[in-house]
Point group: C2
Chain length 354, copies 2
């Protein structure tokens, strides 16, 4: 790899002149410029970004730290890469697997590489979220899906509203006997999803019975699928028809797909007998049979915004600090939901009566 020194030697000038040519300084004679340009082309010279970064204190490097690469995080990463590329930043990825030590190591490593800024989905270690991040992060950060009381800029999903939206939709379809799953309550965003759902029912004078709430233990993709299956057993085993929920809301799509599968196995028709709703709108919800009605999270847009907010912080000279951006859910109706059977009958009777 040729350096500026080589170019300078070949062109018969000093390195500073080469540098000036590269940076488009007007303080360089046209003939000299041409000589340098020729040398650059001849040697196929390209500036070393490490040296630049060291001097300029800017690496044009964005770090993305996630727990793991689930479907939704992969979409997020894909868009982050796209948006960074557009702005001339490269992306380093680290997966902490919900291990706080590892998360710290990744952040540290990134800062030691003079990374410009970080997009971080913090580790959830059991009931505790890493909470002393402030101490060892000294570069711009945008949090994804977590807010930490606004200490950092962040992009979150309106999880409460997502839960509420699911509840409203199922109620509108006439369902009254509802079941739902909940994830580890250690993470605020899952709590929000649940309470949104719960409180919306309450508002309508309804509730979810304890036996219709299935608590999923794990937080990993495969386990989520499994949890869905287990939830079905939990909701259906030894129940009379009247005691069986007519709709199930899952706190995320992977669990919802596990539920669909579990219902299939038992030969239960969807949505005729039981309706299912998820949250997230991951890509496979569309292909599944039946396709899954879900509360969509605008992941791509969130990634785009996260990068935008981060880069603005990085490039601002007046210490701009990004705020809290909350993205709204969107109901995506597909094939896994339908009017409650009893309700349907009621409706047609009404129509016949009219």
């Amino acid at each position: 790899m040729a350096t500026q020194k080589d170019v300078a030697r070949l062109a018969g000038v000093s390195v500073s002149t080469v540098s000036r040519v590269l940076n488009g300084s007007s303080l360089v004679d046209e003939k000299t410029r041409d000589k340098v340009q020729a040398a650059i082309k001849k040697l196929n010279y390209r500036p070393n970004l490490l040296a630049y970064s060291l001097r300029a204190r800017s690496s044009r490097l964005v770090g993305l730290i996630l727990p793991e690469l689930t479907s939704i995080h992969a979409s997020f990463l894909q868009q982050v890469e796209e948006s960074c590329m557009e702005r001339g930043y490269s992306v380093m990825v680290g997966l902490h697997r919900n291990d706080c030590e590892r998360e710290k190591a990744l952040i540290d490593e990134f800062q030691r590489r003079n990374g410009d800024g970080l997009i971080l989905y913090p580790a959830i270690d059991g009931q505790n979220v890493s909470n002393n991040l402030m101490e060892y992060i000294s570069i711009p950060v945008v949090l994804y899906e977590h807010s930490f009381g606004g200490q950092f800029g962040n992009v979150t999903f309106n999880n409460y509203e997502a839960g509420a939206m699911a509840a409203r939709y199922l109620l509108k379809l006439g369902h009254r006997n509802l079941a739902c799953t909940v994830g580890p309550m250690g993470s605020k965003f899952l709590r929000d999803r649940f309470w949104g759902f719960y409180n919306e029912l309450k508002k309508q004078g309804l509730t979810v019975q304890e036996k219709n709430i299935y608590r999923c233990d794990f937080n990993y993709q495969v386990s989520n699928f499994q949890s869905g299956g287990e939830a079905v057993d939990y909701f259906l085993e030894g129940r009379s028809p009247e005691d069986t929920p007519t709709a199930i809301w899952a706190h995320n799509d992977n669990v919802a797909l596990g539920i669909l599968k579990g219902l299939h196995k038992r030969g239960i028709r969807i949505p005729e007998e039981i309706s299912v709703v998820g949250v997230d709108n991951i890509s496979l919800t569309e292909v599944y049979y039946p396709s899954l009605t879900t509360i969509g999270q605008p992941v791509k847009k969130m990634a785009e915004k996260a990068v935008e907010m981060l880069v603005r912080q990085i490039e601002s000279k007046d210490g701009y600090r990004a705020g809290n951006l909350v993205m709204e859910p969107e109901l995506v109706v597909r094939e896994s939901t339908g009017p409650c059977a009893g309700w349907k009958r009621l409706q047609s009777e009404k129509q016949a009566g009219a």
Copy 2:
């Protein structure tokens, strides 16, 4: 961020001494060492990796360049990150989206950052694969899924055998009227898959009729799902029962899932009426209804091997160059395949006769 200079000042020694302490040199007095260690702790000093890289000509940075983040590539990335972490390397990711220009830009960028080595899934631009990579890559490389005549080290999947394995399995189940999909023939690995399937049938004196071969145009995940649906239309529209294939092999799992969905829509029972087989064994094949029988690609192992081969090249002082590693497919039998209906009858008659 504290530097060695700060530590040196605080400890009352020179930077060279600090550096020696950090690198565990024996040529430093115990008392001095303690003073320096104390200063390091006090200032919470951590070495700047950029400066180190510049000097040492080793960045401990591995680049991973992929077309995009499909399910299978996300798994690959996840394992690459894991394996790199274990060996003390960080990972930069770039997605070229099958655009050769972009691929070149990513490679270039990475080399300008003194990246140590590259794992590359090359761009397939229409019928042409980027073929002058040699010219602008001057660091260790391991190719993924492509071999380029062995110019670079590479990890590939035995795609030919995967196709053959699918064919053998379906024949064993008694299917004789087979259909299949093919992807863009510009990429060798998809050609291999097809010819493996085709030749295996030929070996048994069978063939796939032209009307039972559906050519998928696109290479992207969403389109793959769609292609599967279109393939179903192509195979079934206006066919008499005898003329309808009893088994379909898709050249990848996404297409296969699209096919399952298409068959569902038409009310066709799987596998009773039509069996379906995919290739890759992506995670959703297990959750789908019915779960998909597929020819598994050991992605995690391939990622692990790729990193292993790459790091060995990077760290070898005698110019070691990795060779070609071919990973074997594995038949994963699930619910989407079953004996051919006619064959089943034949078998039971046989049994009854015996």
